[in-house]
Subunit: 288 residues, 6 copies
C-alpha cells in the first residue's frame, strides 16, 4: 500500500499501552470573552507538525520511537464549561491511573482546571508552575466562576496559599495583583527567578510533584501573535525554552500548553513556535 | 464643535422615549459548535452602516428621522447560555412593556430564544416565521438543550404544533426533518409558499401577532459567505427582500436577524448585505 | 537570453506608435470615503493577466498581435484630486491627438472625469454610457465637488441634460434620484434597456461618439466582492458581457473600467472577472 | 474513554475490507502554474466535514453506516510529477483489484491521470465525463507533457477520439478548442446536453464503464472562489448537483473531484460546497 | 436596563466639562502614498480597548475614574488635506481654550500638523519631541506640501531651527538627512539620548511647553507590523515605554499617536500595543 | 508624456550593457514540500520597492544611478526542477560571461543550485557562505535529489569538503547534522563566527571567490514571518545586516536571497525587510 501522510503529532505512533506519556487535545474556548479561536489549536498543531523535524539541534536528540502516544482530541461541548471540565478530568484520571504522564494542548486556559483536578486528587501536595501574561486570579468574570480569567484562582481554591508560582505576568486587575501578593508567588514581566524556584523544589527530600501550565501568551506577541489577548512585553522563545530545559530532573506529573489561537496568525509562525516548545519539552524527557 | 462620525445604525438618533422600534445587539456565540464569530456581528454592522445610504431606491423612501432607537449591544456572559438568555429576555420585555417593537441583531441563533420568551409571554398566540438553512429542531446537541442547533425546538416547546413556519431549510439530521413533518410547516430549499402563508394569516379576524426570525445563512453563501456554517443552494438577496416586503401589513411583534459572522467574510459583502436587508425592513415599516 | 515573465496586459507588446488603442492605469483613490484600495487595481490586473488565456470562446477570436499598447500606470499624487485629474486629462489628450482609443483602468470613479474632459473637448457631442451601482450625481460630498460620489454630476456639468445613460443603479440619496429624473436617463437595478438605447444611437446619421464608463460595482457582489462599497442586487457577469458585446458597431471614443479594489477580494476572483470583461471588450474591437 | 473528535470524512468508519467504495486524497499541486494550494484540498475537506450533516434533504437519505472507507491521503513527492502519478496509479489499481470503487480527491487536475491509467487498464472501453472550466487539452505546457493543462489530452492519448465528453468549458487556447472539435465532444459554458449524453450511454447493451472527473472550477467563482484559476460564467451548484444525480444507474468505475484550493477561500464556502457535492454523490450511490 | 458594552476608550466616562484631558480620533489618510488604512486606526483602538485592563502592573496604578474624556472621531473629508487640517485645528483649539490637554489618535502623520498649529498659537515657544522611523522632512512630496512625508518640515516652518528633537529615525532621502543636520536634533535608529534631551528641558526656569508626536512606525515591525511603511530595525515596545515614562514631570501641552493601520495586522497585536502605549501614558499622567 | 510608476527595483534604470551587477528573479517553488508561495517573492519585492527610500542612513550613501540592471523574472516551468535549474544556469552564465555580478532573488532555495553551477564553472575554487535556518544537506527528499532540502548537499557534491560555511542553522535531521560535522563548517543558531571566517578568507594571497546564499528564513520569524517553514530562534535583521556589511572587500562572484513567501505575511513586513537587506547589500557595493 502506498504511504499515507501521517496524522499524529510528529508522526508518533507508540500505542497507548506502551506509552509513558499521552498527548491529547482539549479544543474548548467556550468562555473566551474577547476573541475566540483556541478551539482550533490542537488540530492546527497536529497538521503543522509535519513541517517540523523530530531532531533537536539544541539537545542533539531525536523524538523518533519515543514512548509517547498521540491520543487525539476530546469531543467537548461548547456552552457548558462544567461538563467540558468533567470530561477533561475523566481523561486525565484515566491516563494517571494507567501510570502515564498527561500532556494536554488547549484550548483556552480554563481547560487546565479539568486536568489539574485529576492531578491534585492523585498528588495532593502538587505544586503549580504557571507561565502567563495574565494573572487569571479573578474570583469571577461577569458572574461566572468558570472562566479562563479565573482558572488560577480555582486552582488556588484547591491547593491553597504558597503553592502556585507565576511567571511573566503583565496584565490583570488591581484586585488580582493584590491577591497575588499574599496568596501566590508571582514574578511580573520576566521569569528570572525560575531557577531559584526550581532550586527550592529540589531541596525537598522526596521529589515534589509539579504541574506545569503554560499559557503561551506569556510569550511576546512579536513571536507569538496567534493568541486572543496579545500583551506586548513578554518572554522570548529562548527565555521560555531555557526555563523548560531546567525541568529535566523535576517530578512533572502533568503539563499543558494552552491559548494558541491559529486564526489570529495566518503566517503559521505561532503554531510552529508552539510545536517547537512542545518538541523540545518532549525530547528533554523522552528523546534519544 | 467639529462634527463627529456617527456611531449609531444609519445615524439614527431618535431617543428611546420617542421611538416606536428599538434595535439592540446580542453579541453572543457561546454555543457555536463549529466556527465562532457571530459575536462580532452587531458591532460590524453598526460600523459599516456608515457606508450605506438611508434612501431605498426599491421603495422610494428614506430612513431619515425614523422613530427608531439604536440602543447599543447587550453585555452578555460567554460560557453561560442561560444567563445570556435571561438578560436578552429582560431587555426585550422592557421594550415590549414600553409599547415598542424589539429588533434584535445576533449573535448566534440561540439568542432568538431569549427575545422570543418575552414576546410569547405578551403574545401567547404568536406565530413564528423562520428563515434558515438549518432545521434547528434538535432535542439536544451533545447533551445541551440550549444550543443554536435546538433553538426552534425550544420555541416549539413554547408554542406547540403548527405555529412555526420554516423557509429555505436545506440541512439537518434525519430526525429533525421527521420532526418537522408533524410539528412545523417547513418548506425545503425555497420560500415559494411565503405569500400563501401570509395570506392565511391575513384571514384571521384580528391581526395575528408574528415573530420573524431570520438566520441569515438562509441566503446562498455566494451572496452571504460570512456565516459559520455555509450551505450552498440557498435563497438570493432578491428572494429574501421580496418576502420581507410582503410583511408591511402583518402584525410584527418582534424580529431578529442572526448568524452574521464578519470574520468569515473579509470583503465585507455579507455585512453590507445584512445591513441592506435591515434597512429595507426598517423603511418598509417606518420610511418616509 | 532566457525568456522573461511578461509584464504587460495579456502579453500585449504592440509599440505605442503602431497601436490603435492604448491602455493605461490611473491608480488613484484619494477621495474614497469608505474603504480605500482601488489604487491597487491596475497593477493587480496586470499581474494576474498572466493567468488568463488570450482566446475568447465566446467570440472565437484571439487577442494575439492585437494593435493595442499597454502604456503603464500614471504616477498620480494622492491628496490632490485636481492635479491628478489634470495629469489624466493630459495623457488622454495625447492619446486622442495621436488618433488612438484611450482605455483607462481605475482607480476610483473620479478618474473618469479626467479622461472625459479630454474626450469632451475633442468630441463635444459625446454621449455617456454609465454602468454603476451608485448614482454618483451628488452636487458635492462633505463639501468637496471632486469626489467619486460626484463624478457623473461633474460630467453632467459638461454635457448637460439627456446625454447620460445610467444602468444598474441601486444606491444613492433621495436628491440624486430626483436629479436623475429630469437630467439623465437612468435604469434602476438592471440594464434591460441597453439595447434600446443603442438602437436610438444608431438612428443618427453620423456615428454618435460614445464614452463608456463602467464602475465595476455595477456587478453583484457575489461575483465581484472586490470593491469598496458592495451593493447586493446587481448585474451578473453575463448581463454585463452581453451588453458590452452590443457595442461592436458603436463609435467608442473612450472607455474606462473603474473601482476594482483587490485588497477586498483575497480570492482574486474580482480581478479575474475584471480582466475577462476587459479581454472580451478588446477582442470585440480588435480580436482575430 | 472520553469521545474523540472524528478524523474521517463524515465520520465514515467502515473498514477497508468491508467497503464498496474507497475515498483517498491526492494532495499534489506540483505543476500548478499560477497559484498553488490544491495540495491542501483533501485535508481541508476532511477537517470541515465535521460541520456537515450526513443526511441529504434532497434525497431523503443518510450516509450513516455507508460501506465507504476513508483511506487517508497519499504521501506524494513534489517536483516529480511522474512518480506522483505512479503512486496514484498503484493505489487506484489496488482498490480496483479489490473490487471497490476508487473516489479520489485532488490536488490539481493532473492527478486524474494517475487514477485514470489504472481504470483504463481494467476497463479499456471506458468513457470519460469531464466537468471543467478549462479544456486541459494542450499537447504540452511550457515543454512539459505532464501538466494540469494537458491532463485531458493525455487521457485522450489513452482512449482516443469520441470517448471524452466535456461540459462547462469556457477557457483555453485557440488550438485546444480546435482539437476538441474533432477529437472530443465538448459543450461550452453549460451542461445542458448532459442528459442526452447519458441517454446515449444507456443505449448500450452492456453497461458502459464511465470515469467521472470533476474539476470543481467548472462552478462559477461566485459559488466556488477557492480555486487557482477562477473563470466567471460557470455552472451553479444546483446545475452540477442535478447532473450528478443522473448518474444513479450509470456504471461508474472511478471518479474524482479536483482543484479545490482552500487558501483562496478564507470563508470556507468552497470547501463546504465541495463536501456537499461529495456527500450527495456518495448518498446517491450508498445512502439509506 | 441590561448593561451595554462600553463604546469609549477604556470605558472612560468622564464628561467633557470635568475632564483634564480629551482624546479624539483623526481618521484621515488622504495623502498616504503607499498603503492606506490608518483611517481605521481610532475606531479599531476604541473597539479593542475592551480587551485591555485599566490597571498598569508597571506603575501599580489604575485608569478608573480618570478625568479623561473620549470625545469621539472627527468627521474629516478625504481628498482635501487643507480642510481636514482646519477641522483638526479647530477642535484642538477648543480643547486648549477650555484648559484641557488634547490627545489625538491618527490617522496618518499629516494630522499632527492640524493639532500642532493650534498648540503653537497658544504656546509659541513649544518644543517638539518626535518619534518616527521616517524623517518626514521633505519640502514637498510629488509637488504637494501637505503630505505625511512633509509634516515635520511644515512644523519646522512654524517653530524654526533647534526646536524639534527626532528619535528612532531610519529612513529618508539624502536631502532630508542633510536638512536634519542643521535644522533639527536627530538621533538615528535609537532613542538613547532621550533622557539627556529631557534633562536639558528641565534646566529651563519656567517649564518648557512640549508637544509629543509619536509615529508608531518608530517601533520595530516585528512588534508593530500594522503600519503602512514598515521599517525593520526600530525601537522595542519597552524602549518606547521607558522613554514615555520619563515625561511625568514634563509640561506636555499636546500629544498624538499616529500611523496605526489595522488592516495590515490581522492579528490585532499592533492595535493592542498602541492601546498599551496609550494606557501607560494616560496612567502616568492621571492614574491612581 | 505623463510620468509612469516605475516597475524596476528601486527605480534602477541602468541598461544591461552598462551594468556591473544584474538582478534577476527566479520565481520557482516546484519542490516546496510544505507551504508553497516563494514563486511570488520576486514580483512582490519589485512592487513594494516603490515604498523604500534609495538612501541608506546606515551607510550614508544612495543607490541612485548605481550601475545595476534589473533584468526581470525568468519564466520557469513548474513540475520540472531540472529544466528550471538549466535555465537559471544559462542566465547566470550569460551574466558572468559578460563580466557582471549575478544577483538572484528566489523562489525556493533549490534555485541557488542553478546559479551556483554557473559560478562554479567559472570559479572552481569558489567558497560558499550560507545563511539558513535549515541544513539543506539531505542526500534526497522522498526520493528526489533535486529538492530545496538538498540544495547545499548538491553544492557540496560540486565543491567538496570544507568549502561551505553555514550560519544560523537550527533545524535538520540527525543525519544532516552528522554530515555537517565532517563535511561543512557549521555554526548553529548564531553567526558569531562570521567575522572569523572572513578573516580567514582574507588571509589568502589572491582574493578567494565567494558565493553568498541567504535563505531568508535564517531570520527570526518574529521579524520575517513570510516564509514557508518558520523556525523560532533565528538571527535578527541587525545581526544579518552587520554580517553582510563585512563583505565590502570580499570577492563576491555571485549571490542570492531566497525563500521569501509573501502570501504568508499579509502585513508586507517580510517583503519590506528583504528589500532593505537587498538595498543595504547593493549600496555597500555600488552606493554613492
Amino acid at each position: 500500500m502506498v504511504d499515507r501522510i501521517e496524522k499524529n503529532f510528529f508522526a508518533l505512533n507508540c500505542p497507548y499501552e506502551d506509552a509513558e506519556a499521552v498527548i491529547f487535545g482539549a479544543p474548548f474556548d467556550g468562555t473566551t470573552s474577547f476573541r475566540p479561536g483556541t478551539r482550533f489549536g490542537p488540530s492546527a498543531m497536529r497538521n503543522e507538525s509535519i513541517g517540523l523535524e523530530s531532531f533537536s539541534p539544541y539537545q542533539d536528540k531525536d523524538l523518533e520511537d519515543a514512548p509517547i502516544c498521540d491520543s487525539g482530541d476530546l469531543d467537548l461541548p461548547f456552552g457548558d464549561a462544567e461538563q467540558a471540565l468533567d470530561l477533561i478530568e475523566q481523561e486525565t484520571t484515566r491516563i494517571l491511573d494507567d501510570g502515564k504522564l498527561p500532556i494536554m494542548l488547549g484550548g483556552e486556559h480554563l481547560v487546565s482546571l479539568g486536568a489539574f483536578r485529576a492531578v491534585a486528587k492523585k498528588y495532593p501536595d502538587v505544586v503549580v508552575l504557571h507561565f502567563d501574561a495574565h494573572c487569571d486570579l479573578r474570583e469571577d468574570y461577569i458572574g461566572a466562576k468558570l472562566s479562563h480569567a479565573c482558572v488560577l484562582r480555582r486552582i488556588h481554591d484547591i491547593v491553597g496559599d504558597g503553592r502556585i508560582y507565576q511567571f511573566g505576568i503583565r496584565s490583570g486587575t488591581k484586585e488580582e495583583f493584590e491577591f497575588a501578593k499574599t496568596h501566590t508567588k508571582m514574578e511580573r514581566f520576566r521569569a528570572d527567578n525560575f531557577d531559584e524556584v526550581l532550586a527550592l523544589l529540589r531541596l525537598s527530600e522526596k521529589p515534589v510533584p509539579v504541574y506545569l501550565t503554560v499559557d503561551l501568551d506569556v510569550l511576546d506577541p512579536r513571536e507569538f501573535p496567534g493568541t486572543g489577548t496579545p500583551e506586548a512585553g513578554g518572554l522570548s522563545f529562548e527565555d521560555l525554552r531555557i526555563c523548560l530545559m531546567q525541568l529535566k530532573d523535576i517530578n512533572l506529573v502533568g503539563l499543558d500548553f494552552v491559548e494558541l489561537s491559529p486564526p489570529y496568525d495566518a503566517s503559521g509562525c505561532s503554531t510552529a513556535l508552539a510545536l517547537k516548545i512542545l518538541r523540545e519539552t518532549l525530547i528533554m524527557k523522552y528523546g534519544k
